[in-house]
């Protein structure tokens, strides 16, 4: 294990004057959240990530005392002297990230470190990275041909979190969405591709992000409803496309689409899940039970029953349940909350500070969202369960994860330091649109807290309210705060309201 000499005391005794209070983040302000299908960084994220990084220059430690908790500058206190492939990779990763965490990677023209050794958010660089990812992509992106809708969502959501007004993309989103919609309902990855729950989810969210009635009207809701009926399975889950796999991603994406578009829930007789003898069996019947079957002995959630617990699916599971009813009621009813929380919490490592996706896997920026964004939902479930449902779980008085660790990992290790901009898995990986979106969402989760109004905001929906998280020390500068996103839909809260309100107001198709 490397020994770093840059550490300061365990808790800096002399915190500098706290950053000025954030320009008050009004509750009505948008927030958002997002989710997806990636595992292993499979298809999307690996597209452009193979270029090796150059080692950060090792600078002498700056003369100003920089306050970095030794937690983030030294290897963990317990290390087994029993090397295997996993532990070797883990220790290489620590060696990789430590220089970034200890303010030794500075490129002074690009990074400004604050007194906590945390660089500022390269907002402009990330904005321009996302904008160019929305433009024409070179031929080597052909592997992304079936995931173009994701680029729309990742980039627009990322831009919104960075404070950009994305309404300027309305016309383009409208045209692009039209070219991806199938006459039989739903959106595919592009012209002539089958409709898929993931791509449909991404297009619907992109439309919500840019807003506008004319844009909403691009969606053929009747076709969408029929198509969803065709994917519904008798075990409660959904196939991701006709003949495609059934997994928890599909369930989450379907729940998001159904609730955002205010679709009717009935099934038509041509649905494979239609039960002539049980007319009450509808699109959302059995979804929660399907989710329950995906919890594993470790406490986490797998993509389909009997597989390994994985961070991306944890968010899908919680998000899906939170759409089926009040999180405080539904989540503890279908999931073993204490073991899930234990597993989620185990995903955060020190000194890295960021999250991993599975037990004994490496830290990766995108899990800042997949795992990090689970915490608001867990906290909401705990906050009410202790008061109402008689559960023995205490409410969370403090943050259930280390916000400082997460923010440090993101700002120190996940930001591309060159002209390229964008955010990444870890310093040895290239930035891409997928990681940019989810790292930013994780950053947002680290900077905010959510309060769930028990009574909801009408229409039987829970009322989410966001506040900046101000407990304890803030290691980031106020100007680096990103916008909050809705904890389930992962788009600004205003975008959720706009779309839901529009379709609810229509009454019928």
């Amino acid at each position: 294990m490397s020994t770093t000499t840059t550490t300061t005391s365990n808790k800096p005794s002399q915190p500098p004057s706290p950053p000025p209070p954030q320009s008050s983040q009004k509750a009505e302000e948008e927030e958002n959240i997002e989710i997806v299908s990636d595992d292993n960084d499979s298809d999307f994220s690996s597209i452009d990530s193979e270029i090796p990084f150059t080692n950060p220059p090792s600078h002498p430690f700056p003369s100003n005392p920089i306050m970095i908790d030794s937690l983030f500058t030294t290897p963990p206190p317990i290390l087994d002297p029993f090397p295997t492939q996993t532990s070797i990779l883990q220790s290489e990763t620590i060696d990789e990230v430590l220089p970034f965490l200890t303010a030794q990677s500075q490129q002074p023209d690009l990074f400004t470190y604050n007194d906590f050794g945390v660089p500022s958010l390269r907002r402009e660089a990330h904005i321009s990275f996302l904008r160019s990812s929305l433009g024409r992509l070179p031929g080597r992106f052909v592997a992304a041909d079936a995931s173009r809708p994701w680029f729309l969502y990742w980039c627009l959501s990322g831009l919104a979190m960075l404070g950009e007004d994305v309404r300027e993309y309305r016309d383009a989103v409208r045209e692009t969405a039209r070219s991806m919609q199938n006459p039989t309902g739903g959106f595919g990855g592009g012209g002539g591709q089958l409709s898929h729950l993931a791509t449909t989810y991404a297009v619907v969210l992109a439309i919500a992000l840019v807003g506008g009635e004319e844009t909403y009207e691009v969606i053929d809701r009747r076709g969408m409803w029929r198509w969803l009926g065709g994917l519904k399975q008798r075990d409660g889950g959904f196939e991701v496309c006709k003949g495609g796999e059934e997994d928890i991603r599909g369930a989450y994406c379907a729940a998001v689409i159904i609730t955002l578009l205010d679709l009717p829930l009935d099934l038509t007789p041509d649905s494979p899940a239609y039960k002539p003898d049980d007319p009450s069996f509808n699109l959302l019947t059995g979804v929660a039970d399907y989710v329950r079957r995906c919890q594993t002995y470790e406490g986490g959630i797998s993509g389909q029953p009997s597989a390994e617990a994985h961070g991306a699916y944890a968010f899908c599971a919680l998000g899906c349940l939170a759409l089926l009813g009040h999180p405080a009621k539904v989540i503890p009813e279908y999931l073993n909350l204490p073991s899930l929380l234990s597993w989620l919490s185990s995903r955060q490592y020190a000194p890295e500070g960021g999250f991993s996706g599975r037990t004994n896997k490496l830290v990766d920026g995108c899990y800042s969202h997949w795992v990090g964004a689970c915490f608001p939902l867990i906290e909401a479930a705990l906050a009410s369960s202790s008061s109402s449902s008689g559960s023995s779980q205490p409410a969370a008085n403090d943050s259930l994860f280390s916000r400082e660790g997460l923010i440090r990992y993101i700002l120190c290790c996940c930001q591309d330091q060159g002209k390229r901009g964008g955010l990444r898995d870890k310093p040895s990986k290239m930035s891409d649109a997928y990681h940019t979106c989810y790292v930013l969402s994780g950053l947002s989760a680290g900077m905010h807290q959510w309060v769930l109004d028990e009574d909801g905001e009408g229409e039987g929906e829970p009322g989410w309210m966001v506040l900046p998280y101000l407990e304890g020390e803030q290691v980031f500068e106020g100007r680096d705060r990103v916008r909050a996103v809705h904890p389930v839909y992962v788009i600004p809260q205003g975008a959720v309201r706009g779309m839901k309100g529009y379709f609810r107001g229509k009454g019928g198709f």
């Binding site: 087994d80 295997t84 992509l137 031929g139 495609g244 919890q295 390994e308 490592y349």
Partner: protein
């Protein structure tokens, strides 16, 4: 091309005396020198390039047109010349009707006297064409600079191409007749396109494509996709979809990919299932293996054509090894197995042979990527499908991977599935969640698995995979956590005690596993020893697992000890 043909028709214009010299060089040469007639044929060999020859021919026909545009009325030596020059302008540029009967008569007289070319040859068109030819040939060379020899070669290629096109057309007609069941009137046989004719046509098109590229380059006329060249696809009209002008994240597809997709749309549209469709899917998968639509279409073809599933699996193995991160491949395999299973489900020998060959391949691919989520997900599904939980080979291959890397959580996870989903030892179905006890699990299975986990934990006590497994086994088997209390205590010494030097609380303690502390906190809590539980959690907050401090603090809150000093 320069107006070779046209110019050749007009050389009788004997008046073109100026043509004896290069026109560009003699802008003001006397024009009316009827006496110095020259035979154009004698002049031509002097032109070395196509452009020169073209100019030469042109001048023969337009004695008063200086292609450089420098001549003018005043430069002409005699009035007669000026008159002729004027007439030539008029005759080639004006709508003649506009100058009245008398004017026309005079004009034509002048023209005829001097044998000027009448309106047939449009100068501007000619100049424009010259302009275009500047960029012509496929290598970017101005065709005008071709030597006449080169020019002839080029013409030869064009003729060859035309011939090939004719032959190709004949082939299409023949195949058309075959399709419609024509009978040859002479032989009385049905028209049949033979394999060798097919091959010839393929060869011919390749030759045509090569010639086109040589003649015209890869843009415009020369652009021909692989499929358009293949006679097998002649009857399919590709559906070309262009992205909208302002489309976001539009990809600059390679011509091959764009073409293949347009054919895919066409055959999916017509629901065609055929060997050529299968080939098309393979072609596209090679270009983009992450294309879910093409994978599903491939599966549909295999099932519709009733192709041997095992052949497809063999083909798929190679693709999977080349694309470790791709997950469409694994769903495809899943569909293949769903389709294949009914044919072997009642034949134990076939079933176990298939299970063995799958295991062999999975072992191979996991050796490349030991934690590949898609592979492991497929594997657990396959075990359930084939009912091979109890198979000792399956358990053994999991053990091998854990022996290689005790921290391979995917292997641990698979082991849990094998042991605790086996209907022999468990309540079938999903009556009990993974985090609930199943009363049907036999005690000796629990003992065996607890022993296995403990042995592995001793190798690397801070390895969470082993601890998660241990706890999972205890819960599933309905055992109290305290049954492993003494085991967990092996990894924690002198918790909270001062060290020899008395440097402060905790300096004397030795913790080999934070996961042991976690488990002990729960065990003590179950037994009502809240203070001991709290000490474990507090030391986790303070020292042994600080990054999870918020979580450990929450666990402390759950002990109900009230406000505790941190």
């Amino acid at each position: 091309m320069p107006p070779k043909g046209k110019a050749a028709q007009k050389p009788k214009a004997g008046s073109s005396a100026a043509a004896t010299k290069s026109p560009a060089a003699t802008p003001a040469a006397p024009l009316s020198t009827k006496s110095t007639k020259a035979t154009p044929d004698q002049q031509q060999p002097q032109s070395s390039t196509v452009a020169e020859k073209s100019k030469h021919n042109f001048t023969l026909c337009h004695p008063f047109e200086d292609l450089t545009g420098k001549n003018s009325l005043s430069a002409l030596p005699t009035q007669a010349d000026q008159l002729v020059w004027f007439a030539s302008r008029l005759v080639t540029r004006l709508p003649v009707r506009s100058i009245g009967a008398k004017g026309q008569k005079d004009l034509w007289k002048t023209v005829n006297d001097h044998s000027l070319p009448p309106r047939g040859f449009n100068i501007r068109k000619h100049q424009k064409r010259q302009q275009q030819h500047k960029t012509a040939d496929s290598r970017g060379r101005d065709i005008g600079e071709y030597s006449t020899k080169e020019w002839e070669l080029r013409q030869e290629k064009r003729v060859t191409l035309s011939c090939l096109q004719l032959q190709s057309q004949r082939f299409r007609e023949l195949r058309d007749r075959q399709k419609r069941g024509f009978v040859d009137s002479q032989t009385g046989d049905t028209v049949l396109v033979t394999d060798s004719e097919y091959l010839e046509e393929k060869q011919r098109r390749r030759e045509m494509d090569r010639l086109k590229k040589e003649l015209y380059g890869t843009q415009g006329m020369g652009r021909q996709g692989k499929l358009a060249l293949d006679p097998e696809w002649d009857d399919v009209v590709p559906i070309v979809v262009e992205d909208p002008e302002n489309a976001l994240a539009a990809i600059a597809y390679s011509p091959d990919y764009a073409e293949a997709m347009s054919y895919l749309r066409a055959v999916m549209n017509s629901k065609e299932y055929s060997p050529r469709c299968l080939k098309l899917t393979e072609y596209i998968i090679n270009l983009n293996p992450a294309h879910y639509t093409v994978w599903l279409f491939r599966a549909a073809n295999i099932f519709a054509l009733k192709l041997p599933i095992l052949d497809e699996i063999t083909w798929l193995n190679q693709i999977a090894l080349e694309n470790l991160k791709n997950y469409q491949i694994w769903h495809h395999r899943h569909l293949l197995v769903e389709n294949y299973y009914p044919s072997i489900s009642s034949d134990p020998a076939a079933l176990s042979a298939f299970a063995a060959s799958e295991r062999e391949f999975l072992t191979q691919i996991l050796a490349e990527d030991t934690k590949n989520y898609h592979v492991w997900s497929y594997r657990s599904w396959l075990v359930g499908k084939l009912g091979t939980w109890f198979n000792p080979e399956e358990l053994k291959s999991t053990e091998d991977l854990i022996d290689q890397d005790v921290r391979n959580n995917s292997a641990w996870s698979h082991r849990f599935y094998l042991v605790f989903s086996d209907p022999e030892n468990c309540t079938p179905g999903d009556k009990y969640a993974a985090t609930e006890a199943d009363p049907k699990v036999p005690g000796q299975i629990v003992d065996r698995e607890v022993g296995y986990a403990e042995g592995k934990i001793r190798l690397a006590p801070q390895n969470q995979s082993g601890w998660n497994y241990l706890r999972g086994v205890l819960v599933k088997g309905g055992r109290e956590l305290k049954s492993v209390q003494s085991f967990a205590e092996e990894f924690v010494m002198g918790l909270g005690e001062e060290g020899e030097g008395g440097e402060g609380e905790g300096t004397g303690e030795e913790v080999k596993s934070s996961h042991a502390l976690d488990l002990l906190a729960e065990i003590y809590k179950e037994q009502g020893e809240k203070q001991k539980a709290d000490l474990c959690l507090r030391r986790l907050v303070e020292k042994w697992d600080r990054i999870r401090g918020g979580y450990w603090q929450w666990r402390r809150d759950g002990l109900g000890l009230g406000e505790v000093a941190a």
